[in-house]
Every structure is written in C-alpha cells, then in structure tokens.
Symmetry: C2
Subunit: 192 residues, 2 copies
C-alpha cells in the first residue's frame, strides 16, 4: 500500500478488494499490457480518480496486487525434521518464484515501489515462513541442538538470496537440486 494505510473493513477495504479483483480479472482477460487505470476503475465500479488518489498510478497499483499474490497462503509443510522442512520449502519457493507468473509478480512488485515497502513485504513473507520452520525445529526439542538451528537472517543469506538473485539475474542451472544443495550447505550436510 503506497499512499494510504487501509483499515480492515469499511469502504476503504471494499474499494481495495474490488480494485484488486478487477486487476486480476482483467489480467486474465485482456493481458497485463492492455491494463489501464480507466479500464480497471470501470470494472471495479470506482472512479479513476479514486485509483489515482490511493495508488498514484498503474505501476504502483500493479505492485500492490503483485505483493498480494506473492503472499503465501499456507504454512510450510511439516516433514518431521528441519532439513527436509527447509529443503521442501526452498524447492517450493523456487518453483513459485521462477514460474512465469512468479517472475512477472516479482518484477511488478519491484517496479511500482518507490519507497521499497512492497519489496520489503515480499522479503517479510519469506522470512515469516522460514521463521515458522525454525521455530518448529526448536519446539521439537532434541532433534537438533538449539545452537545448530540457524538464524532467520542466515537462512535468508544462504538460501533465499541466492534463489532470488539467480531468478532475477543468473537463471542458468537453477533447479530443485540447486535449491536443496543450498539448504544442505547451510546445514553442514554438503560442501557448497
């Protein structure tokens, strides 16, 4: 949300929901490149100036919608231990982010984001998922010495950052084995 914070409920939240829905529907129907603010406004049943006032322009609106779509909708699966939990999550993260849709949303999120709020939100989603996996490992107790459970920021550096960097800048060789290798390297099970 670039311009205003939206309170849950109320007209503001309804406008946001209908505008987001309009963007998603129109993306599917006419394609992303054909979107315009008047077109979205018409579909959402609001005036164009409502959109300009809240989002600034189409790029910022698309950035908001992208962040919303990049939000994980389930908790990471529980495989009973830290290593398979992290490896499966890393694989799934790569799958989603490297898909054509994922790439388009990452690009949109980065683009219409003058203050970095939306990019930060994408990163926070990943950090929250990782945090959940690490907390689960700690709660199991005994599975792995507490001191060997990595910090969230270390998982970001060693797993999330290389995946996202390569998706954006260096996609050659980016596959599930690479994602699993990053996790194995971090947990001392490989020599990466």
């Amino acid at each position: 949300m670039s311009r205003q914070m939206v309170r849950p409920g109320g007209r503001s939240a309804r406008v946001q929901a209908s505008v987001h829905t309009a963007v998603r529907e129109l993306e599917a129907e006419v394609g992303r490149d054909a979107l315009t603010v008047p077109l979205v406004a018409q579909r959402a049943g609001v005036t164009p100036s409502t959109i300009y006032r809240r989002w600034g322009d189409l790029t910022e609106l698309l950035s908001d919608v992208a962040v919303e779509r990049l939000r994980p909708d389930t908790a990471p699966k529980d495989h009973g231990a830290l290593a398979p939990d992290l490896a499966a999550w890393a694989e799934q993260f790569l799958d989603e982010m490297a898909s054509p849709g994922g790439r388009a949303y990452i690009r949109d999120a980065l683009l219409g984001d003058p203050d970095g709020t939306n990019a930060g939100q994408c990163s926070a989603y990943a950090a929250d998922q990782v945090d959940l996996i690490l907390a689960r490992a700690a709660a199991r107790g005994g599975e792995i010495p507490e001191a060997e459970i990595p910090e969230v920021e270390t998982v970001i550096d060693r797993v999330v950052a290389p995946l996202m960097y390569r998706i954006l800048f260096r996609p050659a060789g980016l596959d599930a084995a690479y994602a699993r290798g990053l996790v194995a390297g971090l947990l001392g099970q490989g020599d990466r």
Copy 2:
C-alpha cells in the same frame, strides 16, 4: 542490446554511442522521468524510428544504458591476499549498487529486459570481477591451498547474491561490516 547485435565500429556503433550519450545528458538535465523517445532522438541527431527499431521502447533503451553504466571500469584492487581482495571488492560493490544511482540503474536494467539479457550481463560483470580476484589468489601460489580457493559460483551465492537481494528487498542493516562478514563467513574466518 535487446533487438540487434551491434557490430563494433560502423554506423550502428555510432548511433548507439550518440543515443546513450543523449540519455545520460538528458537524465542529468531534465531528470529520468521527463525522458521521451522523441527527446532522446532529437538530442542524439537520429529519428525516433531509429530508436524504436533498435530498442523497442524507452524502457528497453534505459535498460541498455543502465547496464552500460553498471559495467566496472577498473579491475579489482590488489591487496596482496584473497581475503582483503574479496572484502574490499564486496564493500565497493555494495557502495556502488546501493547508492541511489546504482539502485536506479539496477531497476532500469531489470525492467526493460524481456529476455533477461541485460540482467545476465550485470551478473556477468560481477562474476568476471570475482573470477579475476580468485585467479590472482591462485597465481600467487602458496598463499592459500588451491583447494581452499572458492568457486566463482560459490562467491556469487555467498557474497554477491545476499548483497543484491538485500539492496532490492531487505535493506535494513546493510553496511560495510555486513559485506565483510559475508566474505569472512565464506572463507571460514567467521561463523556467519
């Protein structure tokens, strides 16, 4: 270069040089947001259709100019050993990429880059610099066992990727100490 490869020398290279110069001058004079293809064409002494034909649109032209500006213009400094060479390079890379200009160029490079060529070129610049540092360490001989010199791709994963990820998505705490810590962690001199 999105549409055509440019042969060195000849009219094509001259057009590219004058268009790039026009973009840089106009960015400084009127600001990036006021740039248009006709404005750039007029300054460069070419027709707008020359620009559309070669670059597609303004976003792709700006992406090309950005990549050109992100090209390192000197070899990494030689500090006599691998650890200080890598640490100094990482610090300088962070400085340049995290500056307002660097961030704007990274964004431009990613944006007008439908096939990923320009983003790949940015990554290749970093890899080439790292490669030079590693080759220097190997050539010194005896400084460090050959087997302990990391692979280029490992330096990308452990140093370049976290720096670039955090610049784009998670800038809190991003400073020279963090950059040096990544290098120390990679070379086994820290516990990051």
